[in-house]
Point group: C2
Chain length 405, copies 2
């Protein structure tokens, strides 16, 4: 039995700079097919879906879709809901009532798990439904993907921010610490390495959640760097934890917010940066210590985007529709690297992606644990896109001193 | 007696995105004059000056100077030193020893005061020295200037950041608070207003140091906004204080760092944002409350710059040299607005600028105290430069619900 002619697209999880490219890719591609009667969008992901909060994107202009595609954050709104079986059955009930034959959900590993359950339930109930998960996450933690749309633009923001922070710190010296998003995967924090150009440029120390964090070791690292360069730039992931997996922020802080899934709140607070800076000041006696928490700036900053990311985010949306229309199975669109730099798209099984978390592979992290390897540079550089800014220095043509001894 | 043929340029205070434009403007313009033998740059402002730490910028290429001009932060390095009379006499001694006839200092109101004292001491000692102060500060707090170089680019960063934060918050709702630099002047915080496009866009509340801050009133404002829009975006200046002038951060926090001048550390810590968020959570019972402190990102972010700011920062450097060469007095280069949008440069007396602080004029702040006026929009918009990003929304062509009652 062929799916009915209505398409539904929705966006889940944290917004990115390019998630609307994928939405526009779905809508514009789906509208080309003669058997597609309507393309709906659900407000606020699955949360709006079960409340039937739909808009008709068949009645949206191509010009506006293109402008929205270039606007960061989720234009349809998003949700943090993580549906269980019952929730997914409600989703299916709404899809059936509206005659939806094609369901596209743009999101991370939680969203892919939702698509997996809905797909299964539709099959069990003999409802003809094509379900496709479209990848998105700044954390770059989806398995089976070379990288995920949204990550390259966020990585570009982090690299550009550290270029500036490095120059700022060089002009006034001291210690600078930037805390970057990433609970389990350190890709985004590691992106700070691409800010470096000259041999003494920061970040000098990079801490990712893939490696155990020790306060004592951290203070030694900072002291050694500060003694060497007279300054020190640090990039730390919000998810850094000790050997028993306890988040450093909980070790150093008293009141911690937890979300519905029992996850500690890591973003939207400057606590971790402040606590680490306090350690450096009190234990090492360094006076000028400054901490910034990049927070929400890094995922939705208007005007810092990778053109490679934009293009690929558009393509995963388009490919999702093509896989749905010309293929005969549900799945998740995955980005595979086929050259340097070239990619292709595959439809992989929902089971292979759903609910799993990728972390940085060992070969991307240097042996010392506080730096990245050349392999990481080779991996990330092409993703950042064109027209990356470049920092320049004056040449040191020293003038001979006349007064000093 | 004519000044001798050596030029010295230095940079003081906090870096900006365009301070190197002014340095390049001085160097490139000075190198055109036949009577100029050498153009020196001092490392780390007056701190390097008194240690005779000079580089010869006559031996720097034009190509590299142009690239450095486009690089944010102070390429010569900077300093927080605020020289007294003795310090300024040391400066003069070094200038004399090296036969410096022209001294250009790029900085804020503290730097202009240094230039004032050095100028006076040279005159008293009958040393022929032309001293020119070149304006720079992201705080926009120099008197006698329509605006100061560095402010437009930082303002652009703040506006772009709030565009993204507004979109991010709209997709997941809750309360978002961004803390922005500015101890006494709220210009940069007020720039967040230019992020708004649609009537319900944030920031919904803007708190500047020009108005007294009351926690009770703040919580009422947030509640009213949240009840109305289901979300709330707040821009707050780091310098907000109560009716007796006590900084809110000191009222809410225990351990506070003070600098050499007795100023409380406001930047490089997320404490104020965290403390205000904590108040909203505990007093208003709102669950998703997120605070970002823009910190150093806002003044040195690589890749967010106003082209108007770049051009003007270059011109104040060039004009400084022209005023020095063709004029017969010391002074500070000031930007005056002559049209919408057109500016001109004047050389004003050092006394009129030195050590004084401009704050936002009353007509720029709305009567309610938590918004800006149309006059502020008219003032700031042309400074942000060309190619400002623009946010777009999907049109709400609602689909009729079929299941819900």
């Amino acid at each position: 039995m062929k799916p009915q002619g209505k398409v539904l697209v929705a966006q889940g999880g944290g917004p990115t700079a390019v998630i609307n490219q994928s939405m526009a890719g779905v809508v514009l591609e789906a509208r080309k097919f003669a058997n597609i009667e309507r393309v709906y969008g659900a407000y606020h992901g699955v949360a709006g879906l079960i409340r039937e909060e739909f808009i008709d994107l068949t009645q949206e202009t191509t010009a506006n879709l293109e402008m929205v595609a270039n606007t960061p954050s989720s234009a349809l709104g998003s949700t943090r809901d993580k549906p269980d079986l019952k929730y997914c059955q409600d989703i299916l009930r709404v899809l059936k009532a509206h005659g939806i034959g094609y369901f596209f959900y743009i999101g991370g590993n939680d969203s892919s798990d939702t698509v997996r359950i809905v797909s299964e339930e539709a099959r069990k109930g003999n409802y003809p439904l094509r379900c496709i998960h479209i990848p998105k996450t700044i954390d770059n933690d989806l398995v089976g993907n070379d990288h995920t749309p949204g990550f390259p633009s966020a990585a570009r923001f982090v690299a550009q921010a550290f270029m500036g922070a490095n120059l700022d710190n060089a002009s006034l010296s001291g210690v600078y610490l930037g805390v970057i998003m990433g609970r389990h995967a350190g890709f985004l924090t590691a992106a700070s390495a691409l800010a470096r150009k000259f041999p003494d440029d920061g970040p000098h120390l990079i801490y990712v959640p893939e490696r155990t964090f020790s306060i004592e070791k951290f203070l030694e690292d900072v002291k050694r760097t500060y003694d060497r360069y007279g300054r020190c730039i640090i990039a730390a992931s919000e998810g850094i934890h000790d050997e028993s997996g306890v988040a450093i922020i909980t070790k150093l802080s008293a009141e911690i917010e937890k979300d519905a899934h029992g996850n500690v709140q890591l973003s939207g607070t400057g606590a971790l940066a402040d606590l680490l800076c306090e350690q450096i000041k009190s234990k090492l006696g360094i006076k000028r210590v400054r901490g910034d928490t990049f927070g929400y700036l890094q995922r939705s900053f208007m005007g810092c985007v990778s053109d490679v990311d934009q293009r690929e985010a558009r393509e995963v949306g388009e490919k999702a529709v093509q896989f749905a229309m010309w293929g005969d199975r549900d799945g998740s669109v995955a980005i595979r690297r086929t050259g340097s730099y070239a990619i292709d798209y595959q439809l992989v099984s929902l089971e292979s992606v759903a609910g799993k978390t990728r972390v940085m592979e060992d070969e991307l992290i240097s042996a010392c644990g506080t730096n990245v390897t050349d392999a990481f540079h080779a991996y990330l550089r092409p993703l950042l896109g064109s027209d990356m800014p470049d920092a320049h220095r004056l040449r040191a043509n020293r003038v001979t001193k006349l007064l000093a001894g």
